[in-house]
């Protein structure tokens, strides 16, 4: 009986390892084409300015590096078959210097989204989902140590679900809620990697929150994943409407 259980566990472990071994990464770079608008200076109030001495924080709409690599682009696989349990690890948004960090992120449906407040200032955290079933909430969050972390969970996929602070009207963060784990957000140089994608044919989508608003259709490419890393690059042309 015990040996049978051990045998089954071994087979399951082997399957799990094999699954990971079968998975391959999709990587690439997002490049911005066209002149991005000049970012605007945030109208921080006196208390927020105190938390960022010497800084002149601006909006973060089109963060492109010198070579055009575009940050904060949400990249995901479309229509991945199967059911995926949400990870036990929460995604974390922090409030630092009266801004949400990160600005764009992804979470799996059912996954905990924890909002911290590292500022010595109170905020309110107000997610405003558009998809029915994802609850709108508005919660106060005092500065630490009185203020506790706030936890949110959304059960339906939604692109760029907005978190806002009404106390500081320039504070926004956008969480894309997916029904699978195959998504990521491009880094400062515009590069991205979606890890451990099972072999198969997919459509990969790159969506920028401003360039592709409000429908968020984005750019789509076909990709076939086998056993090695696939590269898919995107160019987002902001001179064209979505």
């Amino acid at each position: 009986m015990i040996s049978g259980a051990i045998r089954i566990s071994g087979i399951l472990l082997l399957c799990s390892l094999t699954w990971n071994a079968w998975g391959a990464d999709i990587t690439g770079t997002i490049t911005l084409k066209g002149e991005p608008p000049r970012e605007k200076v945030l109208p921080l109030d006196a208390m927020c300015r105190k938390t960022r001495p010497g800084e002149v924080p601006t909006t973060r709409f089109f963060l492109a590096d010198k070579s055009g690599g575009l940050a904060d682009v949400f990249v995901y696989l479309k229509s991945v078959p199967g059911e995926f349990e949400p990870p036990a690890t929460p995604v974390v948004i922090d409030q630092v210097g009266c801004e949400y960090v990160p600005y764009v992120l992804g979470a799996q449906k059912g996954q905990k989204i924890v909002v911290k407040n590292s500022d010595p200032i109170l905020h309110n955290v107000h997610p405003t989902p558009r998809v029915k079933g994802n609850p709108e909430m508005n919660l106060a969050q005092l500065p630490a140590p009185i203020g506790k972390d706030l936890t949110f969970v959304f059960d339906y996929p939604e692109m760029f679900l907005r978190f806002k602070c009404d106390v500081h009207r320039w504070m926004y963060a956008y969480v894309s809620v997916m029904d699978h784990p195959f998504f990521t957000v491009s880094g400062k140089d515009g590069s991205y990697t979606i890890k451990n994608v099972p072999p198969g044919d997919y459509e990969i989508v790159a969506v920028h929150r401003k360039a592709h608003a409000p429908r968020y259709v984005g750019l789509t490419e076909k990709v076939t994943v086998k056993d090695s890393t696939e590269t898919v690059d995107f160019t987002i042309d902001i001179t064209k409407a979505d």
Binding site: K40, N138, D166, H168, D242
Partner: protein, 414 residues
């Protein structure tokens, strides 16, 4: 409100003050919406788990300052309205203070102390209200009650102001933008109500109304204008409470047209332009419905102008050169000014101060048209139907029944 003269200056001035406070409150509400900070205090009737009146000043930061100040100002207007209603009952108001407000507030404070000992601030406030009410009753004026109609309107105003407060609270608690638009609409109606009370208690109304004065202003046309202006305010409120900014970025022409096309091509284009504008306010995207609201707002604005202009011409032809007709002329100019403020709102890309000014001036224009309509319709002879006064043949005021005043007025008209 002595028996001899119906005009009671302190009460009238109090009504005018309440109206001014209400207009200021609408302005504060306008700032809250323009700045998009209405939800910066997530709870109600508490504020950040404090009794609203005891919120520490250290909490008054960012958007909280405006929202909390709006709530406090609303409470002050509520108190003024209760005062207006109680005072309208003249010396009988003292009974309300002694036998109702004092015991109820004291009892409420006691219950709060027993049931919610942790909420000491509530107990203190209710107890203070009870004591204050009792002290006030000692110095309560012994005047006559206001005319019946004024008393009724004042009581309606109390119900309205309470309802309005609850509506504002529900908008916060239920997270419903639509309730915000209703809240704005009720605020304007409430302002008109208070201004009507101020009009009915004015010396001008008392003397002219009592003497059976008929202005012959085109009352129905003015009433239509007032209703159209209110419709304009509803459309404006619906646009503002979508939190989507403006669906146009130029005025008077949008893409070469007076009215923007409410189709997907236009909506896509305007959203694209806005997306590339790096606006930290991050408005909701423009929709076709939003564009339609804007189109209706322009069309109705034109209809308001034409209606007011028509009423001015009608009044000029009927009455001639009279200061009330000049008032109508001024109203026409005010409507033009309101239109220019709307244009400025677009040109300024919906700057907070300009958009708020547009709201406040809209409220003033609504009150203006409503009061002129009431004067024109002359539905309130003698400011009440129970007792009236009229000038007798020797030029002195004498008391007559309201029915008699109306009969004489009809006779004079014939």
């Amino acid at each position: 409100m002595s028996g001899q003269a119906r005009y009671h200056r302190p009460y009238h001035l109090f009504a005018v003050f309440t109206a001014a406070a209400t207009l200021a409150l609408i302005g504060m509400g306008g700032i809250v919406t323009s700045k998009g900070v209405g939800m910066s205090v997530p709870d109600w009737p508490d504020s950040y788990d404090h009794n609203m009146f005891m919120l520490p000043v250290s909490y008054w930061v960012g958007g909280i300052f405006w929202e909390h100040f709006h709530r406090l100002a609303a409470s002050a207007v509520g108190l003024l309205t209760v005062g207006l209603a109680v005072w309208s009952f003249g010396r009988n108001g003292k009974k309300f203070l002694v036998f109702w407000l004092t015991p109820l507030a004291t009892l409420g404070g006691g219950v709060c102390l027993v049931a919610f000992p942790e909420r000491l601030a509530d107990t203190v406030l209710l107890g203070g209200l009870g004591i204050g009410s009792f002290v006030l009753s000692r110095f309560w004026p012994r005047g006559e009650p206001a005319p019946r109609l004024v008393r009724i309107l004042a009581v309606v105003a109390v119900v309205a102001v309470i309802g309005q407060g609850v509506l504002g609270g529900l908008r916060v608690r239920l997270l419903q933008d639509e309730l915000g638009a209703v809240h704005a609409a009720v605020a304007h109606l409430f302002l008109v109500l208070i201004c009507v009370i101020a009009l009915l208690t004015s010396r001008w109304w008392q003397e002219r109304g009592s003497a059976g004065f008929r202005t012959r202003l085109p009352g129905w046309t003015l009433l239509l204008a007032a209703l159209l202006i209110f419709g304009q305010l509803l459309l404006g409120a619906a646009m503002r409470h979508r939190h989507a900014g403006l669906p146009v970025d130029s005025f008077p022409l949008v893409d070469g047209k007076l009215l923007p096309a409410a189709d997907e091509t236009y909506v896509s284009g305007i959203n694209q332009r806005r997306n590339l504008a790096a606006d930290y306010r991050e408005f909701e995207p423009v929709t076709r419905g939003h564009v339609q609201l804007y189109r209706y707002h322009l069309i109705l604005g034109s209809a308001v102008f034409l209606t007011v202009l028509a009423s001015l011409i009608a009044a000029w032809l009927t009455v001639g050169n009279h200061w009330l007709v000049l008032q109508q002329g001024a109203l026409v100019l005010a409507i033009v000014g309101q239109g220019l403020l709307g244009a400025w709102t677009v040109w300024s890309d919906k700057a907070d101060a300009v958009a708020t000014l547009h709201v406040v001036f809209g409220a003033i224009v609504l009150v203006w048209a409503s009061l002129l309509a009431i004067i024109g319709l002359g539905r309130f002879p003698a400011a009440g139907r129970d007792i009236a006064e009229k000038l007798n043949s020797s030029g002195k005021w004498e008391m007559v029944s309201g029915q008699e005043a109306i009969r004489e007025m009809v006779r004079d008209t014939r």
